[in-house]
């Protein structure tokens, strides 16, 4: 089987994006100074990235709402909530 990039994988899954209304918000100052940045590697859709200045860049589209970032963050660096009802990830297989 052809190897899929993470973008290919996430592209298979259906989402209804609540444009401009992220259900997760990060606190850039806290995240920049976080030594561990566990969210970056553990996020199954790679929504957390680190830029060349050490800032954590977060995109909420393509989020599976699994909550892993919420439980690994011990610096209170993010506000995590569910998207509005009917929005966000919509598994067709599950």
């Amino acid at each position: 089987m052809k190897k899929l990039t993470i973008e290919d994988k996430v592209g298979l899954t259906k989402f209804k994006v609540d444009t401009g209304k992220p259900h997760i918000k990060i606190k850039p100052e806290i995240c920049k100074n976080c030594a561990e940045k566990y969210c970056v590697t553990i996020c199954p859709v790679e929504n957390y990235k680190v830029d060349e200045n050490g800032n954590v860049i977060f995109a909420f589209e393509g989020c599976f709402e699994c909550g892993t970032c919420r439980i690994v963050c011990d610096k209170c660096g993010l506000e995590w909530d569910y998207p509005l009802g009917g929005y966000g990830v919509c598994f067709r297989e599950g």
Partner: protein, 437 residues
């Protein structure tokens, strides 16, 4: 003035729907709030649905429910980087109904069907509705829920929390402590399309009424706590793995990279060859076990399923049946409370008593030592699996070395990698955790 119903169930998964179905059948006015576009839209499991609890409320589910295949064949395999060693089961009794209560399912389809059954029984299922908070009376007792809709407040006599592994509401109600990474496994999964006949061929299944479940340990999780799986659906396979969140974080492992590697393992590659990727998904699993369970009842509130951490953390992976069982028992406790007109914690304590008498708590208690033992013994996956595979390979090697000489070398290799004291200590702890506590 907000509308009032008897019971509000938060979450349209196996626990919530089993509860709503049971209540509705008994004529209790019940509303289920589901945040997804439909029940199942946010739900993922491997997945094998254990149907023992389902069969209690819908005995003829096999004719009606969108289950994929019964599980008639199982394999358990240890993987090293390139090699595999396993055992296989093929119990002929399990090829016949009720198939050992094991069926593969795709949750988006199954949960929708299950919810429709509750709806037919008289429950109201309201999808696309997030429950954000509770409504409290002057005595700080929960008397309803606030949904994220206009005029979304609903009063009720009792709230059943079946809102899943990330139960923010159980936390808000003060029923649980913080979520700790060590108590969770992150599962990632791909559904891959394959024609029915190819599935039968590759997994040596006699017909489309047979199914396989393969479990993998070792290199599939980079030798950390967790396991991989391949389950056959009717015309797709589910392949994925779960890793302990704390260990994966500490090692900086990316779950989807592990999944890529798993699919390229020489043992796995031919099983997924030319399959068509259909969906990628991920979900958390509560694996803290009995010792990390939240409180499951308080005045006017009960907690079921993953929200209550009802997952058997041993090799059984049972969770769906415990979720449904807990939902049914919650409904039973609510009906009793309703009869008494008393939904106080003292009255709803009946739920905890029912759970204690059921396999839910009995099984969780049996394996209560397991999560801690596995977390404190990372070498179990590291040392023993690789060694076992190597020794088995040595044992079966045919060359010019005599069998006696070969076996002497094998013993030498084994004792250079594991000390007798370590082996005895691990054997004792494994026995206490898995078999006799």
């Amino acid at each position: 003035m907000a509308e009032k119903v008897d019971v509000v169930v938060v979450g349209g998964g196996p626990a919530g729907i089993a509860c709503a179905y049971t209540l509705a059948k008994a004529g209790v006015e019940t509303i289920v709030f589901e945040r997804g576009e439909y029940p199942g839209a946010k739900n993922v499991m491997g997945g094998i649905l254990f149907t023992n609890a389902l069969a209690k409320i819908i005995p003829d589910f096999r004719e009606k429910a969108p289950v994929e295949r019964p599980v008639t064949k199982r394999k358990f395999l240890a993987l090293s980087e390139k090699d595999a060693l396993g055992v296989e089961t093929g119990f002929s009794e399990f090829t016949r109904p009720p198939h050992n209560n094991n069926f593969t399912v795709l949750r988006a389809r199954f949960d929708q069907w299950f919810a429709s059954q509750a709806e037919d029984a008289g429950a109201m299922i309201l999808s696309e509705t997030v429950v954000d908070d509770f409504i409290y009376d002057d005595n700080k007792k929960i008397i309803g829920v606030k949904t994220r809709r206009d005029d979304g407040d609903i009063l009720c006599n009792c709230v059943v929390l079946a809102d899943g592994v990330n139960s923010l509401l159980a936390k808000k109600a003060g029923l649980r402590s913080d979520f700790k990474p060590k108590n969770f496994v992150l599962g990632v999964k791909m559904v891959l399309g394959l024609p029915r006949e190819k599935i039968c061929e590759r997994f040596a299944l006699e017909s489309n009424n047979d199914g396989a479940a393969y479990e993998f340990f070792g290199s599939v999780t980079n030798n950390i706590l967790g396991s991989g799986f391949i389950y056959t659906n009717l015309e797709s396979i589910s392949i994925g793995l779960g890793v302990a969140v704390d260990s994966a974080c500490k090692l900086g492992l990316r779950p989807y990279e592990l999944l890529d590697k798993f699919m390229e393992h020489p043992y796995v590659r031919p099983l997924v060859k030319d399959a068509e990727p259909i969906e990628y998904s991920a979900h958390l699993i509560p694996e803290g076990g009995y010792r990390e369970m939240p409180h499951v009842f308080m005045d006017n509130v009960l907690v079921c399923g993953d929200a209550a951490s009802f997952v058997n953390t041993s090799v059984y992976h049972e969770g769906s049946n415990l979720a449904m069982e807990s939902g049914i028992l919650a409904a039973k406790a609510v009906m009793q409370a309703r009869g008494r007109g008393d939904y106080s914690a003292k009255s709803l304590m009946k739920y905890a008593e029912y759970l204690e008498e059921s396999i839910v708590i009995k099984d969780l208690k049996k394996y209560e030592r397991l999560p801690e033992f596995l977390h404190s013994s990372p070498h179990l996956f590291n040392n023993y699996l690789d060694l076992a595979i190597e020794l088995a390979k040595d044992y079966f090697t045919v060359d010019e070395l005599s069998k006696g000489e070969r076996q002497k070398l094998m013993f030498k290799k084994a004792w250079s990698r594991v000390s007798l004291i370590q082996l005895m200590s691990d054997a004792y702890k494994s026995f206490r955790s898995f078999i006799w506590n």
